[in-house]
């Protein structure tokens, strides 16, 4: 097991390194000159040259890249308008457009993104599992077909369209919900809930639909397994057959998908945050893209990659604990 984990972690480091390299190379090759951006309106060629030297933009690609990677581990110092700005490890860079350290910008906004992601995750898992199990139990009946239609709809509606529709109906027309604002939970839990409800629903809808379908398919498949038939044949109460024999194997694959989905969202629910104007990491990404603020985009890409890659590892390890059929690296 230890050897397996070591191997996986090493593989993870390689993938992360490649993601960093790939992202950096793309920005290095494609982006407009950051020096010219920073320089702004009253710019002279000398000033641009000076900024380029300050930022190390006159260095070759590999030097710049390793300076960046070095900054991630040991921190670095930026010269901003003649004054040094310390950026402690892990240094994600400095945004010259907003005059802030990228790391600070992300840390400030992470709580909102995490709130949105976790709340939505609770919602979609509950909704998905309940409707999925119900559909499977009543396969072919009205309930099943109703949820089938509902899931197709939920899967097909783009979340920004759903967001705008809900906003129009619930906020503008009916006035039932406030326009979402990042109310802190400790200030007022009730208002916190109402404010985040719409973003949660919007974000969760598509996921809930896929979880419903997946749960339904898995449960139906498990119900046809021999061990379920055996359990039924030996006269086990239906409720126990479901609880002990049908649900557990049917639901374990969902753990995998859930881990990956959640990990993918922790780096910010870009569209949902943007539509509702909630100041999380996703909105930060959207704003930085509009402003072409490369250090921020670079950092967010990296951060999301870390979440996803760590998520894959955690899920794989968890999976071998949950599902006794999967034992990786054991004595075989």
């Amino acid at each position: 097991m230890i050897r397996y984990i070591t191997g996986r972690v090493l593989g993870m480091v390689v993938v992360l390194f490649l993601v960093t390299l790939f992202t950096y190379a793309i920005f290095f090759l494609l982006s407009p000159d950051p020096a010219a951006q920073i320089c702004g309106k009253n710019c002279t060629p000398e000033l641009i040259d000076q900024i380029r030297t300050n930022l190390g933009l006159d260095q070759p690609f590999w030097t710049q890249f390793f300076t960046y990677v070095g900054g991630l581990f040991t921190g670095r110092t930026f010269m901003v308008a003649g004054a040094p700005v310390d950026c402690a490890a892990p240094c994600l860079g400095y945004s010259f457009q907003t005059s802030q350290l990228v790391g600070d910008m992300i840390v400030q906004r992470l709580p909102i993104s995490v709130t949105i992601a976790l709340g939505a995750a609770v919602l979609w898992v509950l909704a998905g599992l309940v409707t999925g199990v119900l559909s499977a139990a009543k396969e072919g009946a009205f309930v099943d077909r109703f949820f089938a239609g509902l899931t197709l709809t939920a899967m097909s509606i783009p979340n920004y369209v759903l967001a705008l529709v809900l906003q129009f109906v619930l906020v503008v027309a009916l006035g039932w919900l406030p326009f979402p604002q990042a109310v802190s939970f400790t200030d007022d839990p009730g208002r916190w809930f109402l404010n985040f409800l719409m973003p949660w629903v919007v974000l969760a809808a598509g996921y809930a639909a896929t979880y419903t379908r997946l749960t339904r398919a898995n449960v139906i498949e498990t119900l046809q397994e021999n061990f379920v038939r055996t359990a039924r044949a030996k006269g086990l109460a239906p409720a126990l057959v479901w609880r002990r024999h049908a649900l557990r194997p049917a639901l374990t694959p969902i753990v995998t998908i859930f881990g990956l989905d959640l990990a993918g969202l922790l780096g910010g629910a870009l569209i949902t945050e943007k539509v509702f104007g909630l100041n999380g990491v996703g909105k930060l990404t959207a704003d930085s893209i509009a402003a072409n603020d490369q250090p921020v985009i670079m950092a967010v890409t990296l951060l999301s990659a870390v979440f996803v890659i760590v998520g894959i590892l955690v899920v794989d390890l968890l999976y071998s604990v949950i599902d006794p059929r999967v034992r990786t690296g054991g004595a075989q």
Binding site: L164, G206, Y207, T210, L270, A305
Partner: protein, 322 residues
């Protein structure tokens, strides 16, 4: 469904576990067509898709019929004293402007929807063709030859799938110069889309490779190319078809989402996602401006999802019955 990376993967799973697809003999096309015609959901959704394709193809013609080009401003249709909102009911719907006009500019929404359909269809269908071809070829190579080829292809697939695809697509698109956005969108979407199909094809190839008829072909001296294309490929075509059908709505949604975020098709070229984005600030005063592109997009994705779903159901039931 839009832009969630897992949706493609989850869609992939049912296609993968329906191994019955490849286990039985190929079905007769006529029986499938028959089952298809009797399925009202499949018929309705294909009718809508055909309608959108016709609309996209006939966009210049529609512009001529209505008399308004996609970039033409109609100052007469908006009220400058009311913040330039459209004159008339429901966003300025009239005999002249069938779906009304855009607030602010007075451009004809119907014609812009038709031109937006061009973008949507061009991007989604090209990306589907490209990802299907790449995914099939690489998946079969990895599955059939195994060894080092499999290792390389599988690692590349894992690498691509570990990427935060949406953020990365946005990053690439925002960094690249905006000459031909449609080609760029196709390239970027295909780049991140093929591993999902390749993984399924690889799995199917692995299982079919062990079957007796492949052994027989090998024993009778058939080469690798012959076995791959004549023995294995015909047995996974239905899986590929279903996967491709289920990929299209994902790509429609991705294109619209990227355009919505402002990194897709650049104005003034219309795209549905971009129209929704520009309608967002107006939705309280002029909801129709949002309703049309929103409804067209939703229905197109829904139709493709339903169609893919039905095709899969028909293929599975048709083949198990056969």
């Amino acid at each position: 469904m839009t832009l969630t990376s897992s949706s493609l993967e989850i869609e992939a799973a049912p296609g993968a576990d329906s191994e019955s697809l490849s286990e039985s003999a190929p079905t007769s096309g006529r029986r499938l067509v028959h089952a298809f015609v009797k399925d009202w959901a499949a018929v309705l959704s294909s009718a809508y898709i055909v309608l959108i394709i016709l609309m996209a193809l006939a966009a210049p013609l529609l512009a001529r019929i209505t008399g308004w080009g996609p970039y033409e401003f109609d100052q007469g249709a908006i009220d400058p004293n009311m913040g330039a909102i459209p004159i008339g009911p429901a966003g300025g719907i009239s005999a002249e402007h069938w779906f009304g006009v855009e607030p602010g500019s007075g451009r004809d929404i119907f014609v812009r929807i038709a031109y937006g359909a061009q973008v949507s269809m061009a991007v989604a269908l090209s990306a589907t063709v490209i990802t299907t071809v790449i995914g099939t070829v690489l998946g079969m190579l990895a599955g059939y030859f195994g060894g080092i080829i499999d290792t390389i292809i599988s690692r590349v697939m894992e690498f691509m799938m570990a990427f935060p695809a949406l953020i990365f697509m946005i990053a690439i698109l925002s960094a690249l110069p905006s000459d031909n956005r449609i080609v760029l969108l196709v390239v970027v979407i295909s780049l991140f889309g093929w591993p999902y199909l390749a993984r399924i094809v690889r799995g199917q190839t692995l299982s079919i490779k062990e079957r007796e008829f492949v052994e027989a072909a090998k024993a009778s001296g058939a080469g690798s190319a012959r076995i791959i294309f004549r023995e294995i490929l015909p047995n996974i075509t239905s899986t590929i078809l279903v996967m491709a059908a289920l990929a299209v709505p994902g790509y429609v949604g991705t294109e619209a989402g990227l355009s919505f975020l402002g990194v897709g098709v650049v104005p003034p070229t219309p795209s549905w996602g971009q129209m929704i984005a520009s309608a967002a600030p107006w939705y309280a005063v002029d909801p129709m401006y949002f309703v049309f592109p929103g409804a067209f997009l939703f229905l197109l994705v829904l139709s493709f999802v339903t169609l893919g779903d039905r095709v899969r159901a028909i293929l599975v039931s048709g083949e198990t019955r056969a």
